[in-house]
């Protein structure tokens, strides 16, 4: 799936002198690069790491300086951007590539895009951009077309060639995530588009700068097509600046070391990355077959608004991983359903990105982190599935909603390996979906706006194998998580925060719990119209799993809303205000405020919000690890004091008997009562559980009677019609007749 076959590459005229290595055209160089790997099994045919052996310090110094160049460029470019997404949350990345588009060194940030940039460069090479529109020093190319190479349109990428003495010796690439992309609803990730049309402004591999100057027509298009063009324009300038910064630094380094040394070194650095990956696999993992299942749910039925979508759906996200005796990791999404009529599909580049960013966090987290690991792994994406739609009209605007559960499964699978080898400190049930507030309308300054509130970039993580998950500090797509300051979002969006606090009882329960996540309670401020649409949360199903007996994190599928509230009156009277959820059965917003209260399930498509309305938005967190009744009661006491845990769930889920001292405002645990409660919990389990074999007999009858909910049956029916292997394994497991299928 990952390598494009040589026959796909456009033919070139014989004898043409190219800009690539040694006068080769870039197409020839790319073809040669792939052939060398296929023939030798080593990146670019580098069989021994001679440069490293001959002069270790010189070689390492070169790598460190290249890495420093991309890291520094990213930090500098963040200061040029005006977008809270890039400036505050760090939604950008910068990386250096070989002439053939393989990454050599990368910055921190949204590392998911290191390999999407690689695909973009290779797409231009394969389509002979060298001939038309031409590739010259000072050019910058942009793309956000998912089916050329991207996750979804908000991720705008720039790449620039680096020439030295007339030869293209490298590319620099950078990505900035845009908060507004001009889609059918305001903001970035559209959640209501059935096809790509409506996802927003798409740039399909265009030359956008010449001689280091951004084309005026490119900026005019942004000004005319976006609700808040200033973010996009300054992000573009930030990216071009980053490209120039890296280019100049690389030219300086090459001049110092000599171009021949540089060209050999970058190949060695990637080959070293490949070998390091394989060595780590042998040290940290166990060969074998791993399986997992994840799901994401979407509610559209009955929604009123701008969407043509009407069908509820459950996305089936199966994953099969094998590690063979050569330490090759193969991940296979066989059983994924067909492409969907909604924005939760993933182009192959998105799957590349999800895979790469998972590898960088779990296996390839230091040393030579680059595309080397890419040459030591394999990914199988069934053609025509939501994971590889094979149709560039498909909507992928909210691809992350399927990506994160899918690669959360990969994290869990690799963690099982770490557990088996004893590296329990690396066990991590990291990522879950990131619900996002999208929207647009008229802002507090009376201007048209569109913006995404990206505070979801620091929600709770899943648990770890030796400790709790990270509280309000993790997201799968950007390991350098930051939620941004409240005041910054209040400037960008017509809202005032009444509260941004820990969401009590949110972590997936376990011996080690998931990280606590948060919710924000917002007063809609000085706007006559704010069309709010949420995305990338999972409706009605948990999008994550626990491990070794832990429970999944909650659904975070809902928002509380109170229209026409008396909040201004409460503020004027200095009355108590809601700041947190409170009792989930009687939320503070409902209890303390008069207004038209409702709990909204799924994407929000109803009437616009306006000044004085209240909204409480919830963020996700991950699963727990281990049996909850094995949790150290002292850890639960601390959670009680911090407001992470309620007394009610501490008793019911953890078997911890505690009480609150109102005078000291502290909790204490009754150790003996806790011991007895946990013994009782085991007795309760024994009383209510049945042997799995008995339970299976009942489930088989249920399937034969087609006794399942409509959405679940539709999911199975779609997969049965699409994957022969998965449907056969399903029938075999339940011992169903060969002709069994799901009826409408």
């Amino acid at each position: 799936m990952k390598a494009t076959s040589a026959k796909k590459i456009r033919k070139i005229a014989p004898g043409r002198r190219g800009v690539g290595p040694g006068g080769l055209t870039l197409i020839e160089a790319l073809k040669r690069n792939r052939q060398l790997f296929e023939q030798t099994g080593h990146y670019h045919g580098v069989k021994n790491l001679k440069l490293k052996a001959d002069n270790y310090l010189r070689y390492e110094s070169l790598h460190a300086r290249l890495r420093s160049a991309v890291v520094n460029a990213r930090e500098m470019s963040k200061k040029i951007s005006a977008s809270p997404g890039v400036r505050e949350v760090g939604e950008s990345v910068v990386a250096l590539y070989t002439p053939e588009g393989d990454s050599v060194a990368l910055s921190t940030g949204i590392m998911v895009h290191v390999h999407t940039l690689s695909r973009f460069i290779q797409w231009m090479i394969e389509h002979d951009y060298e001939s038309d529109p031409g590739i010259a020093a000072g050019d910058v190319f942009a793309n956000n077309d998912p089916f050329i190479s991207d996750v979804h349109p908000p991720d705008l990428m720039n790449v620039a060639p680096i020439f030295y003495e007339g030869e293209l010796i490298a590319w620099v690439g950078t990505v900035a995530h845009e908060l507004e992309i001009g889609g059918v609803t305001g903001g970035a990730n559209q959640s209501t588009t059935a096809e790509r049309f409506g996802q927003g402004l798409t740039v399909s591999a265009e030359k956008v700068a010449v001689n280091d100057v951004i084309r005026r027509d490119f900026l005019v298009r942004a000004e005319m097509n976006l609700r808040t063009p200033i973010y996009y324009i300054l992000d573009e300038k930030a990216m071009v600046a980053a490209c120039i910064e890296v280019r100049e630094k690389v030219i300086e380094i090459v001049a110092e070391h000599g171009v021949d040394y540089y060209k050999q070194a970058i190949r060695s650095i990637i080959e070293e990355g490949r070998r390091a990956h394989l060595e780590r696999m042998r040290l940290l993992t166990v060969p074998g077959r791993y399986r997992a299942a994840a799901f994401c749910g979407h509610v559209f039925e009955g929604k009123v608004g701008s969407s043509g979508l009407s069908r509820n759906c459950i996305v089936h996200i199966p994953l099969d991983m094998t590690i063979d005796r050569d330490a090759l990791m193969t991940i296979d999404y066989e059983g994924a359903g067909p492409k969907m009529w909604n924005p939760y599909n993933c182009p192959p580049a998105a799957m590349d990105g999800g895979f790469f960013v998972t590898l960088t966090q779990f296996i390839d987290f230091d040393g030579k982190v680059n595309d080397g690991c890419w040459f030591a792994t394999k990914m199988i994406l069934p053609p025509g599935s939501w994971a590889n739609p094979m149709d560039n009209a498909t909507s992928t605007s909210s691809a992350w909603a399927s990506l994160m559960p899918g690669f959360g499964s990969l994290q869990r699978m690799i963690s099982r390996s770490f557990y088996a080898r004893g590296f329990r400190e690396e066990v991590f049930l990291g990522q879950v979906n990131t619900p996002i507030m999208e929207g647009g309308g008229i802002n507090q300054y009376g201007q048209r706006f569109g913006a995404q509130n990206l505070e979801c970039a620091a929600e709770g993580s899943g648990a770890r194998g030796i400790m709790d998950g990270i509280d309000c500090g993790y997201v799968g797509w950007n390991p350098e998580s930051d939620m941004g300051n409240v005041e910054v979002w209040e400037m960008a969006i017509p809202i005032l925060y009444l509260g941004r606090r820990i969401w009590r009882d949110s972590p997936g329960a376990g011996k080690y719990r998931g990280g606590a996540t948060f919710s924000s309670l917002l007063l809609i401020h000085k706007t006559p119209v704010y069309n709010l649409v949420s995305t990338i949360h999972s409706d009605k199903v948990f999008d994550n799993q626990g491990m070794c007996g832990g429970y999944p994190g909650p659904t975070a599928r809902f928002q509380y809303l109170s229209r026409n509230s008396n909040i201004r009156e409460l503020i004027a009277n200095r009355a108590p205000l809601p700041h947190i959820e409170g009792d989930p059965r009687s939320p503070d917003m409902q209890r303390m405020v008069q207004g038209e209260f409702e709990t909204v399930d799924g994407v929000f498509l109803e009437r616009p919000l306006r000044d004085g309305d209240l909204l409480q938005f919830f963020y996700n967190t991950g699963g727990g690890y281990g049996d909850p009744i094995e949790r150290n009661p002292e850890a639960t006491r601390v959670d009680l004091d911090k407001g992470i845990q309620s007394l009610e769930l501490a008793a019911r889920v953890y078997g911890v008997v505690a009480k609150f001292d109102p005078a000291a405002k502290l909790h204490s645990v009754d150790t003996e009562a806790t011991r007895k409660a946990r013994e009782q919990c085991r007795r309760d389990r024994a009383a209510r559980a049945i042997p799995v074999k008995d339970w299976m007999a009942g489930q088989r009858s249920r399937l034969l009677n087609q006794d399942l909910g409509r959405e679940v049956k539709e999911m199975y029916k779609d997969v049965f019609g699409f994957s022969e292997r998965w449907s056969r394994e399903f029938r075999e497991f339940w011992k169903l007749p060969d002709d069994f299928t799901f009826k409408p």
Binding site: A293, T555, T599
Partner: protein, 161 residues
């Protein structure tokens, strides 16, 4: 080459190591003798004599029992051959309605039981909750992991199995 005392590994896997040292272990090169030390610690803890071949998850081990390789809980309960899914020999409780889900997920944060259920797999011997699954009703029981034991020992560890 990095290596750590057995006591440190014991504290690490028990979650008792101070954070500063834990962080150091996380950030440093990995110790290639970890697996052997880990097995020693676990073997000392279990109340039975069968040799642990591979830890499978909290409380679960693949062990050598005479000529068989089986999955065994540290309480002594035996599940059967490791090449078959141990969950099929477990006890199960399924949270498949609002009331049962409400116990863990109060209010609106629970899944819709028409769309998803939580399966709890208990050890029949000690009633420890060994694994959970959050899946659509009717979903086949997931076989999480079947290791290539032969390849692992002979090709990777260079040791007899």
């Amino acid at each position: 080459m990095t290596s750590y005392p057995k006591d440190l590994i014991r504290d690490l896997i028990d979650g008792r190591l101070p954070w500063q040292t834990t962080k150091q272990v996380m950030s440093d090169f990995k110790d290639d003798g970890r697996f052997e030390t880990y097995l020693e610690i676990l073997q000392e803890r279990v109340p039975w004599k069968e040799r642990i071949l591979l830890p499978l998850g909290e409380h679960l081990y693949i062990v050598q029992k005479k000529r068989d390789r089986i999955v065994k809980c540290d309480c002594g309960h035996e599940f059967g051959p490791y090449t078959e899914n141990w969950k099929l020999a477990a006890s199960i409780y399924v949270r498949d309605n609002e009331e049962k889900l409400e116990e863990i997920y109060p209010g609106a944060r629970k899944c819709d039981p028409n769309w998803m259920e939580i399966r709890e797999y208990y050890c029949p011997g000690c009633m420890t909750q060994l694994e959970t699954e959050a899946v659509t009703p009717g979903y086949p029981i997931v076989f999480d992991f079947v290791p290539d034991l032969e390849g692992f020992y002979r090709d990777w560890l260079k040791k007899p199995l």
